[in-house]
Symmetry: C2
Amino acid sequence: MTLSINEERFLEDFNALAQIGATGDGGVNRPVFSEAHLAARKWFGEHAAEAGLEVHVDGAGNHSALLRQEGAGKSLLLGSHLDSVPNGGRFDGALGVVSALEVLRTIDESGLELPVNLEAIDFTDEESSLIQFMGSHALLGLLTPAILRSPQGGRTALLEGLNRAGLTEVGLLSSRRDPDTIAGYLELHIEQSQRLQSAGVHIGIVTGIVGISSFRLSFYGRADHSGTTPMEARADAGLGASSFVIASRDIIMRQFPDCVANVGNMEFRPGVMNVVPKQVNVLLEIRSVDGERLNGLKSTLIDQAHNDAKRFDLDLEVITLGESEPATMSPPVQTAIRSSAEALGLRHMSMSSGAGHDAQLLSGITPTGMIFVPSIGGVSHSPLEFTEWEDCINGANVLLGATLRLMRKE
Amino acid sequence: MTLSINEERFLEDFNALAQIGATGDGGVNRPVFSEAHLAARKWFGEHAAEAGLEVHVDGAGNHSALLRQEGAGKSLLLGSHLDSVPNGGRFDGALGVVSALEVLRTIDESGLELPVNLEAIDFTDEESSLIQFMGSHALLGLLTPAILRSPQGGRTALLEGLNRAGLTEVGLLSSRRDPDTIAGYLELHIEQSQRLQSAGVHIGIVTGIVGISSFRLSFYGRADHSGTTPMEARADAGLGASSFVIASRDIIMRQFPDCVANVGNMEFRPGVMNVVPKQVNVLLEIRSVDGERLNGLKSTLIDQAHNDAKRFDLDLEVITLGESEPATMSPPVQTAIRSSAEALGLRHMSMSSGAGHDAQLLSGITPTGMIFVPSIGGVSHSPLEFTEWEDCINGANVLLGATLRLMRKE
């Protein structure tokens, strides 16, 4: 007989969690270290303890529920995250944590003897509000004092958040775990795109995760009076920035159709009606599953920005805000996911992830895989984010099946 | 003998005023109703009183120093403003107020009998931080409860400012003066452009002031995940806004070389790196001395914005923020300025003003003129704003001469 998760308990847990930080429109607002986020983590810890699991919290705040096996030296990690973007959806991250917990309970109840410990883990700040992938970076020992001094969310916000969570910088810097103690990492997540829905497929087997580079491009001109300065005498930083936005889209569409780019913000200075903008800061992010293509796109876009600056008599400053390498998911883990989906009679397809996940960091130290389930309309980071409950159950059962298959190999 | 201002006293006053709200780099920071602005107005009132002039403050906070003439029914107004843009220069506005005060004292000391009262006036909020030309609008009786309910600087800022200045909304709405009591208006101001400097000319005789229309163009798209949404499936509000910025500049340069336009700000929402912008608010301002051309430019640019929105699958909302008509300066006043400059052996030229001034409102009710003096490099609204002291003296003497010439006609 094939083992299956307890659907009713799974749904009950999912809905209980979705109430924490609920925004009333189907979404949740649980930015890292917010009261709602801390409440969700408390719920997770208490719920795991009630289920008879050991609860651990490391120096980075990563929460673990452990199904310990006597004599086992390693742990297989299943997990995701309980934080959300501001006013995000109730599936992103939460689905992976609740299903990991459910898989542990199902296996615990089955009485199976396991060669490794099973650990359901909730990573800190997957949405990277304060520090990019704070929890998994800490677990890999990759955080440094320099990162803590100028975190992307701001130093003050970081210190306030750590304080609310009862964490310390020393704790963050000393949360590394020995990779030899980790048997692998599996994560169930919503797709956040509509390829599965469009193809009518139940399960996405992730082959790789995009690398992401982000930059601040600052165009510098001159703040002149908007009424008295002839058009041809201006050095208008807004022209360089706008020209870059249009040109960068053309470059992506024509030369890099396998990559994506986003200008998420432009900040005008002084930013008032009657002064020609002397400075515009452009927030640019680029993604690709192929490291060489990502580098090629980066240098092409920066060249373009220099051309746009020159064209409008501006100076340009380029600051790299973040860089993560593309990650490849472990082929044996992909095979375990595929076999599990097939055993359940589910349609599956291989696909890359355009979104970043903690799995991209874990893949550097342990065999790692991700399971995607369909997102209706591809909507994510929004209260409208939605995945059919049946798809959530399918995903959790594939997670269970892949876990069992991987353990048999240990 | 030709009457001349007292250069030493004029310089002393100018420098004393430049200390109030000084930013240490040659500039001043005196936004309307800031502590520094209120201190500058206090200085003006005390200084005028010391000179034996009557001091009046109307319900809009306009400060007047009056040289009263027995039996005179009308007042000839000379003035400008003591507020500045944030971190502005020490000449813009201040030169006109200090020279008006100096002209009154010089005439007072001369013992001349005048057919009208002379009034040095400091208008409130010429820089239009809270309400466009608040002081002159109030003096003309053009403020309405609707304007006070949604002022361009925000309702809260307006109420806080009025409170700091000891003013009330009722006062603002009841500050209208009977035009029949006003004999004319003269303003000395720095040019804020470099036409005079380039031409080697001392005095600019303003023929007209540009009309200004300003708009908020809101481009609406969809907030999608920047990593998982294919480029062609996005509705990126930043593309419409950027495309409009580039296109609008081409329209100005090619079809409307006699007009200017400025996009002073763009506000992205949600404005974060990993979300496709769902909304971009573009702050657009256009200027022309010709009302028909201004209207033509307006409709051409709004058509263009609709095209840009359509091209990128966006919606567009256009909100008019402000509209002022171009103004013509009084020919007899221009003649008085010209004669005065010629009598002093100063080179002069006629020119339009690309910047707005209270004079554009006053010109609707009384013979009005403006005198420009050279701005080095055309720099204005900046601590680097500079006019040679000799040019300031020339301007004040032309203001004095024009005043005397106009009064002879009364």
